[in-house]
Amino acid sequence: MQNKNNIILSSQDTDNIVLETKDITKVYGKTENRVVAVDSVTISLQAHEVLLIIGPSGSGKTTLLSMMGCILRPSSGDVLINGKAVSGLSERELPFVRRRYIGFVFQSFNLFPSLRAVENIELILRLKQTEKEKVPGEAFKLLDMVGLRKRADNYPEDLSGGEKQRVALARALAGDPQILLADEPTANLDSKTGLEVLRLLRDLAEHSGKAVAVVSHDPKAETLAHRVVTLEDGKVLQ
């Protein structure tokens, strides 16, 4: 019998590939209203790399990222984490996969306004089962990593856009996930702050071994990514 609370996706160590999509397609609607948002996309994401996904609006970037993050189920094809298919997991099981393996960074930060910066991180650490006594220390360590220890007691409303995104990044790192998925992380930031956030993501990939996928329109992102995938009409351009 399977215990949904203890899902472990053990690495099969296939060239450092942490996440793969195999021929995944996402179709919305039926018959004449049918829209193919993502069409037979096969990509891989390795540890120590930043993969940039670019493309015009409506090309399916966010849909692809949602499927990579196990938030959205593909209509066909498979998503593999550490070589193991997760598409077959039930709706009850997928949250535990996301909790264990994936960290998200959102365009609008999505911090809890009622929680201080450090508490935003603590909440996710606890949600991700970090031992209770280690939570405060871990949270401060993560804030240190993004250079915001001094702002630990501030509420999100008292932080600048860049600070909010850095807290969100620290939160995404809570629980030490292998994969970081970032959706337009610089869209609400000025140019300088955006660049800082992108550098942070690259540092995390290079020095902490994270596998980072970024969806972005920001031209600066291309200079900091290790690989770039371009989507158009749901397909990867060769």
């Binding site: 399977q2 899902i7 849909t63 609008s108 996710i124 949600l127």
Partner: protein
């Protein structure tokens, strides 16, 4: 141990990824932080719950208090059986019966003792010349069965041997100050006040006057005449024989209604509650309080849920389950319910004295506090239903939208 298709995924008891039982505690903590961070919303919610609590408490408390008044005499007389005129509706409106019927009751095997009790009406002349209608209870001062039970001054025997009466202190608002030894005029008959009881009221709100059975029979203009009584009340040798004795009395006294103490209490309560429509009035007002309070709570919690949809979506995306987020919503509803209920209950206790001083009976008992707490709590949880439904259908993909 492989658990799905081979090589797909496996489970193991790694402490680092176990779903710790403390997650719900985290959701409780988040609920607490969010609730108290948004003070304006909290105040609106608490006003709704407090209003609801006060309204439900006053309505339920007044209803129970008034039903307590309506049945006070039946509950405080130590009798198992009440014999009354045929088709009586409640204890206050009795029709006289022959007092000799007491012999039939006494003759019934299983009866320990029986007594006559008069319930009639009179007009008490006030010091300023005005008249106040009063409810008169005539009892045997030798046995004191039917006598006032909470005396501040005098004794139940004191009404014996003359035109003496006992009045209740709660009637002072209407009668003026009561002084033992003062002389009053009741239905044209001079009566001396020999005792003062406390807290004895009738449902009709007319002041209660206690006097001897004989004096009640002599009261001018009343319906009860000499050789007549309102009730014959009896005590059983063995309360286990109640049904048998009542059946036998009903068979031998077909012109009378025979009730057990419990049945007579029930009949009186049903009369005032259902037949007069008064109970429905109280019930509807209490229900309205719950609905209005519930609507305020539901609206504020739903508005809060909608406002935090993005954060809840983020939690879902990160790996919280629907159950974890329901926990946040229900915890907020529960915390609001507890705080609002405590404030509402405190207000009721503060106002209770004033309400009673105004002559309105209000009952607030421990069991009522617990029952109403669960009613208010359930209302708040029910009010959260729409928020929970919204979360259930919340697609975490929405968190990627700007």
């Amino acid at each position: 141990m492989p658990v799905q298709q081979s090589g797909c995924y496996s489970e193991q008891s790694s402490s680092s990824v176990q779903r710790v039982k403390g997650v719900n505690a985290e959701m409780l903590w988040l609920a607490f932080k969010t609730l108290f961070h948004e003070k304006g919303r909290l105040v609106v919610t608490l006003v709704g719950i407090t209003f609801s609590t006060v309204l439900v408490f006053t309505q339920a408390g007044m209803y129970i208090g008034m039903m307590g008044d309506a049945t006070a005499l039946i509950r405080n007389v130590d009798a198992d059986i009440w014999v009354a005129s045929k088709n009586i509706q409640n204890i206050d409106f009795s029709y006289p019966i022959s007092e000799e019927r007491i012999n039939r009751v006494n003759a019934m095997p299983g009866i320990l003792w029986s007594e006559r009790l008069i319930m009639t009406w009179g007009f008490l002349k006030l010091p300023d010349g005005g008249l106040e209608q009063v409810q008169v209870v005539g009892y045997n001062p030798d046995t004191t069965v039917g006598a006032p039970w909470n005396l501040l001054a005098g004794h139940a025997h004191d009404v014996k041997g003359g035109p003496y009466m006992i009045l209740d202190k709660t009637a002072e608002n209407r009668l003026g100050a009561l002084t033992v030894g003062s002389i009053w005029e009741l239905s044209g008959k001079r009566m001396k006040l020999v005792g003062i009881s406390n807290g004895i009221k009738s449902f009709t709100t007319s002041p209660m006057v206690f006097m001897s059975y004989n004096q009640a029979q002599l009261l001018p203009y009343g319906p009860v005449r000499t050789n007549q009584t309102s009730y014959i009340i009896a005590k059983l040798e063995d309360s286990g024989t109640k049904d048998r004795v009542v059946a036998a009395l009903r068979s031998s006294m077909k012109d009378n209604d025979i009730y057990t103490r419990e049945d007579f209490i029930r009949k009186t309560i049903l009369y005032w509650t259902v037949q007069t429509g008064m109970g429905m009035g109280f019930f509807l007002t209490a229900l309205l309080g719950l609905i209005v309070g519930g609507a305020i709570v539901g609206q504020t919690i739903y508005a809060g849920t909608m406002e935090h949809l993005r954060e809840f979506g983020t939690l879902k995306a990160i790996g919280a389950t629907n159950g974890d987020i329901y926990m946040v919503i229900f915890s907020q509803a529960g915390m609001s319910a507890v705080i609002g209920y405590v404030i509402g209950t405190a207000l009721i206790f503060l106002a209770k004295g004033g309400i009673e001083k105004a002559g309105v009976s209000i009952y607030i008992g421990t069991e009522m506090i617990f029952i109403l707490f669960f009613v208010v709590l359930l209302t708040c949880f029910a009010a959260s239903f729409f928020s929970v439904r919204r979360i259930r259908t919340l697609d975490p993909v929405t968190v990627f939208k700007a």
